[in-house]
Symmetry: C2
Subunit: 137 residues, 2 copies
């Protein structure tokens, strides 16, 4: 799997936010803490806010908070919003006709692993990322 850098950033940020009891997170704070490039993070958060995952507060003392309950946000939702998740569903050899009924030579072993990943991503919520461990970069 190898998520895109952007998905990686997004999940890193949201996982950090859910593990911190700060009420609002400024871009600068996230940038410094999580090692994400300045303008890139801002653009990403603006996108996530347009998609309804976070809420952005403009102006002085502004920043980002969750827009909805983190236990209703699945990892796959974020990945799909940020880079699209369908590409993770395809045949490892790129055969468009490959399926359970018409498997390529790698399908049987590969599909099971791939499906575990998809299932993991689409059943795990952001709030399940609460952890005792302090993640520092």
């Amino acid at each position: 799997m190898r998520l895109s850098k952007t998905s990686e950033y997004a999940l890193r940020i949201l996982s950090f936010m859910i593990n911190s009891d700060v009420e609002i997170f400024s871009a600068n704070y996230l940038i410094k803490t999580l090692n994400v490039p300045d303008k890139y993070l801002r653009r990403l958060m603006t996108n996530l806010s347009k998609k309804g995952f976070v809420k952005s507060v403009q102006g002085r003392d502004g920043g980002y908070t969750f827009a909805k309950n983190a236990d209703s946000i699945y990892l796959s939702d974020i990945i799909d919003a940020v880079e699209g998740i369908d590409k993770y569903r395809g045949c490892i050899l790129g055969f468009s006709s490959c399926s359970d009924d018409n498997p390529c030579a790698l399908h049987n072993k590969y599909a099971s692993i791939r499906d575990q990943l998809i299932t993991f991503l689409s059943t795990t919520t952001i709030s399940e990322l609460k952890s005792n461990e302090a993640l520092k970069f």
Copy 2:
């Protein structure tokens, strides 16, 4: 998951070759059969030949054959030769310090799936790709 296009091509080609009893495969034949761009396939096969996986025969009636027994070529060998495989080993959130001892919030569930993939790729050989199914593109 989500190999590079180049790895995908490489595995597609080798898996086709092992499933066919042709003695030598011309670039043109592979290109037409497997839907890989002309010059791109040639360059790829030249690389695989320099790495010792296939043998290229120049001149009239030339083409490509396996340079060594396909049961000594692991999928991970090809992927590593073509795009490098280390990137598939990293933390899903990009934390370089993430490990079993110092896990990120996703590590425990993710690492197991990722390791299954790595294990699959590094224990499966090209000759195991022999299949009854005719793979056509």
